[in-house]
């Protein structure tokens, strides 16, 4: 039963990674940039939700909605102010700017909320933990709802990208920016929309993550951000199903490594797995092979 318990908590952690990785992968797909500030948007989401429940006394779901709204705006704002002036200047310049934005968010949070860790009240604190198989199998509401949320987001996002007009525009822009513009697609709007969705999802991930691991600090988002980035690459960066699968696999590997090998070395094992996967499949699990022309 220990195995299944680990598997469930692995899937739950993996779902959080997957939701964050979706933001990475969508942004990468459309603007070919590594948005290193994405992890810190998670942290902002967590803090907003924390403040709403703590100081205003909102119910959990309302706090989540507020956090999503704030992060969505934040995502649009970051893209507009920091990334758009650098569009088309090469990915390195934008990467460094993204790192600047990341420092900015972390240090703003440090000024507002201080360095002391805050204890986050779980979104699902009223719901009791479920037991099965004579109490050997434990399912916390956090893991259950995280996995469910991940599945819902996955389905909704796939439908959105494939069926709606805005989704099609997004795909067109990520395929060929210039051609899309010539076809009358508003490129700026599509990119803004991508950032908005990615950051909104980051807020969801932040609240879910802080519900399961209730410590909130200005650097809370940094490590999950890096892991989710790894997950996105694992699955093939730019691919939405890839981010999902990559996130889940990464979460399961991490929890199993913690449970059966070593807690301290779990990160090393996760990253070693990534290197091995990239050795076998150089563009990740679902990545497209790009053939070069001379």
């Amino acid at each position: 039963m220990g195995f299944i318990n680990s598997l469930i908590s692995g899937l739950s952690l993996g779902s959080v990674y997957a939701i964050i990785a979706l933001g990475y992968t969508m942004v990468y797909g459309i603007s070919k940039m590594l948005n290193f500030a994405h992890g810190d948007v998670i942290m902002v989401g967590g803090y907003i939700s924390f403040c709403m429940t703590m100081y205003i006394g909102m119910p959990g779901w309302a706090a989540l909605l507020v956090a999503m709204a704030v992060c969505t705006l934040l995502g649009i704002l970051i893209e507009r102010l920091a990334y758009r002036p650098l569009r088309g200047t090469g990915s390195l310049a934008v990467l460094i700017t993204a790192i600047g934005v990341s420092y900015f968010l972390q240090n703003t949070a440090l000024l507002i909320w201080g360095a002391n860790p805050r204890v986050f009240t779980s979104l699902f604190k009223g719901i009791s933990t479920m037991h099965a198989a004579d109490g050997k199998l434990t399912i916390t509401p956090e893991s259950l709802f995280t996995i469910v949320a991940c599945v819902i987001i996955m389905i909704a996002l796939t439908l959105f990208v494939n069926k709606t007009k805005a989704g099609k525009a997004m795909r067109a822009v990520s395929e060929d920016n210039g051609a899309a513009q010539l076809m009358g697609i508003n490129v700026n709007q599509s990119i803004s929309l991508t950032f908005a969705i990615g950051s909104g999802l980051a807020a969801v991930a932040g609240v879910l993550m802080c519900s399961a691991y209730p410590v909130l600090m200005p650097t809370t988002g940094a490590m999950p951000g890096i892991k989710a980035f790894t997950a996105a690459v694992f699955g093939g960066i730019g691919s939405i199903p890839g981010a999902m699968v990559g996130g889940l696999i990464l979460g399961v590997i991490e929890i199993f490594a913690r449970a059966y090998i070593s807690t301290e070395l779990s990160d090393a094992i996760v990253f070693a797995c990534l290197i091995i996967v990239l050795l076998v499949k150089p563009t990740g699990l679902f990545g497209k092979k790009i053939s070069e022309k001379v």
């Binding site: 390195l92 600047g100 940094a222 890096i226 563009t283």
Partner: protein, 373 residues
């Protein structure tokens, strides 16, 4: 600088780019020496305070890290996010080597030298090991592998325990070594290296920078260096005229790793305690910021950026809590101002008006911007 042996197909590589070396090298060495004299004067006359004097060695270390990372990012054209990993390997193996030779060499400088050599060797080995899987990867996939490597190194350092007693060197993973007292500990897991005897000096740092510069500039202006740049500019075209892509990529990577290991060893000998957390992802990113801010591929640009940005947080101390926030804003604004095409155009118009010695096009930025598209 070099002889052309026989006129073969690689003659192009040998001939191309001649003449640029002298100027770049002269400027770079000049900057280092003038910087050294100015800082020394400042320290002697008391203009430079005690806090800043403590930053002299880290400045040298970061400058040489910026130079060595430029070899990978600028000259070889690959994004590396794990430079701190090599630095960590160099620092910790260097610390162990220095402790081991305490009884052999009385002079601190000799031990520092041993630490630097050992650090360079081990970092080069690490660079070789991580370089092999990298060869098959492109662009951002390569970047993530270097990131993963840096994290793996830091993770291992967190569970590594080293000690020296009368029986020799002892080490363990994941738990403290029994029967060892504090003075015998060398590395204690997440606490890191403790009671290191400081042997690094500003002079040693300057020698480190000069040596790093010497290696990188000579490599850049050799046949191999032009091979590396040819592969950067067009991999397929390079391959088709007979350049061994894998060899040159690996060469740039391993040399860069070894130089980072040397810098790490000097860094490690500058503090009495050194925790593995010092070498996290943020440090790798910091060095990358120096390289990009200085102009990708522009060696002395990166050096200046490294020196300024290492001092900047110290200089911003008067802003107290707003220090790092200001740093972040400065970083974003500087990046936008230097890379945004419109603002750049306006700047260069201004410079053209003021500057009577007009340069034809600014190479550093077009190099960085163009290659990614």
């Amino acid at each position: 600088m070099e002889k052309i042996k026989t006129p073969d197909t690689k003659k192009l590589l040998k001939k191309a780019g001649k003449g640029a070396y002298g100027k770049e090298a002269l400027i770079s060495y000049g900057i280092v020496i003038i910087g050294y004299i100015l800082l020394k004067l400042g320290a002697a006359t008391g203009i430079i305070g005690f806090n800043l004097q403590g930053q002299f060695v880290p400045i040298c270390v970061y400058v040489s890290l910026a130079i060595s990372l430029n070899l990978v990012v600028g000259i070889s054209g690959e994004l590396s996010l794990g430079h701190a990993g090599f630095m960590a390997v160099g620092a910790f193996t260097g610390i162990i080597a220095a402790r081991m030779t305490e009884g052999v060499f009385a002079s601190g400088n000799t031990r520092l030298f041993v630490a630097v050599i050992v650090g360079a060797i081990f970092a080069a080995i690490a660079g070789f090991i991580i370089g092999i899987p990298i060869l098959g990867l492109r662009g951002d996939y390569l970047a993530i592998v270097t990131l993963a490597f840096g994290e793996i190194v830091r993770n291992f350092m967190n569970v590594l325990y080293f000690a020296k007693d009368e029986n020799g060197l002892r080490f363990a993973f994941n738990h403290t070594i029994p029967g060892i007292d504090n003075s015998q500990r060398i590395i204690t897991g997440a606490i890191g290296a403790t009671s290191v005897q400081k042997t690094a000096s500003f002079e040693a740092g300057i020698i480190l920078v000069l040596f790093t510069l010497f290696v990188v500039l000579n490599l850049k202006n050799s046949k191999h260096g032009r091979g590396i740049m040819a592969v950067r500019d067009n991999r397929i075209a390079g391959e088709s005229i007979g350049i061994d892509v894998k060899k040159y990529k690996l060469m740039a990577f391993v040399v860069s790793a070894a130089l980072a290991g040397m810098a790490g060893a000097v860094f490690g000998q500058n503090y009495s305690t050194l925790a593995p957390i010092k070498f996290n992802f943020n440090t790798s990113v910091l060095v990358l910021v120096f390289v990009v801010l200085g102009g990708i591929g522009n060696i002395w640009g990166g050096m200046i950026a490294a020196a300024l940005l290492t001092v900047l947080p110290e200089a911003l101390r008067q802003f107290a809590d707003y220090r790092m926030l200001t740093y972040a804003i400065v970083l974003i604004v500087v990046m936008i101002c230097t890379y945004n095409p419109k603002i750049r155009a306006r700047f260069s118009m201004l410079i053209d008006k003021v500057n009577p010695f007009k340069r034809k096009g600014d190479q550093a930025v077009t190099e960085g911007g163009g290659s990614d598209e």
